[in-house]
């Protein structure tokens, strides 16, 4: 009885994750292409996607390595992009924190934007799921998404070696990031954070070692957080 409900939770996770295949394939191929264009071998490119498994951070690292930024700055910036994973981890904890440690460790590796977004929505809408069902559902959402991230990185890397340099691929990362940010600009706080960060980044352009990017990013986060706090104070205040 219990095992059949766990299996059906896993299957439902697969169904709910499936639409994201359409997003994952072009993204991972683009990473494969750009990484080989930047001079990485096919093996290095694939290792990158398997070890890190985080699109935006991988693109960030690639962009900054291309600009000859120091190793520490590349790492700090890419990890800053991945700070949101800590937030995902925190918000999944009440739901799957009761699972065995090894399952939580595997789930942590597979915590990506898609698996998090689908799972947290499901968990919040169906509070009577057991921990085993929630973990099974989470791994279900991962199944159509993450293996394709590896496979199509490889496909992209193999194709990339055949693409001529005249394709202005340097601009693929900015275009990709703009397309990711735009739908995320849902509130005034998000818009303020993005505008502040962009403006500060231009102001700090001459700061050595690309540190201006980190400074601008932190500035954007602080503005976003304080606009959110101000908005909340206003709506919560008695009128």
């Amino acid at each position: 009885m219990a095992s059949s409900s766990v299996k059906s939770a896993y299957r439902q996770g697969i169904r709910d994750g499936a639409p994201f295949i359409l997003v994952i394939i072009p993204f991972s191929m683009l990473f494969g292409v750009l990484a080989t264009e930047a001079g990485l071998s096919v093996f290095e490119t694939l290792s990158f996607s398997v070890v890190v498994i985080a699109g935006a951070a991988q693109f960030t690292a690639l962009q900054l390595m291309g600009e000859d930024a120091p190793t520490l700055v590349v790492l700090a910036s890419a990890l800053a992009v991945n700070l949101r994973m800590a937030m995902y981890s925190a918000s999944l904890t009440p739901h799957i924190g009761g699972a065995p440690l090894w399952q939580r460790a595997v789930a942590a590796y597979f915590t990506v934007d898609q698996s998090y977004a689908i799972s947290i929505t499901k968990f919040e809408n169906t509070p009577d799921m057991t921990v085993q069902e929630k973990i099974a559902y989470f791994f279900g959402t991962v199944t159509p998404v993450c293996p394709l991230w590896w496979v199509f990185t490889l496909v992209g890397a193999l194709i990339g070696e055949a693409i001529p340099a005249s394709f202005a691929l340097d601009f693929a990362v900015p275009i990709t990031f703009l397309a990711i940010i735009a739908p995320a600009l849902r509130t005034r706080a998000h818009v303020s954070a993005a505008l502040t960060a962009a403006f500060l980044s231009l102001m700090f352009f001459s700061v050595p070692y690309n540190l201006g990017i980190l400074m601008a990013g932190v500035g954007g986060m602080m503005v976003g957080a304080s606009v959110e706090a101000a908005t909340q104070a206003k709506t919560e205040a008695p009128t």
Binding site: P26, G39, L40, S47, F48, V51, V52, A57, T60, A61, Q63, L64, M65, G66, T71, L75, A78, R84, A86, M87, S89, A90, L92, P94, G97, A105, A107, A108, Y109, T111, A168, A172, V173, P174, I175, F177, L178, A179, I180, I181, P183, A184, H190, A193, A194, T196, A197, A198, F199, S201, L202, F205, G212, A216, V218, G220, M221, G224, A225, E228
Partner: protein, 108 residues
């Protein structure tokens, strides 16, 4: 050219660091509540860091020696506009790339 040792340092440290961030709370903190101010800042990491990375790359691209480049700026505007209206990530990327190639072809 990217240095091999540096590349592997980045791949490994980024992998370990990303795992640590993902495991931080589900694995180690357990059910403890995080301070509100921290969660509030974490919510704005993506919309803070990503624009900071691309703003100079859009206005002063390295590929043109840091000079203002009309096709790249127009492509950026079209991508952003499509993303804001349409909210379709892959569609916006394709629209931006189409704009870039069309203008590069027309202007050269």
């Amino acid at each position: 050219m990217i240095d091999r040792t540096e590349l592997w340092i980045i791949i490994i440290c980024l992998g370990v660091g990303s795992f640590a961030l993902r495991f931080a709370f589900t694995g180690l903190v357990g059910d403890r509540q995080l301070p509100d101010w921290l969660m509030r800042h974490l919510r704005y990491t993506a919309v803070g860091i990503l624009p900071a990375i691309i703003a100079p790359a859009v206005l002063w691209p390295a590929a043109t020696g840091g000079n203002y480049d009309a096709p790249r700026i127009c492509a950026a505007i079209v991508t952003l506009a499509l993303g804001l209206i349409w909210k379709n990530v892959v569609g916006s990327i394709l629209g931006g790339i189409a704009t870039l190639y069309t203008l590069q072809y027309l202007l050269t």
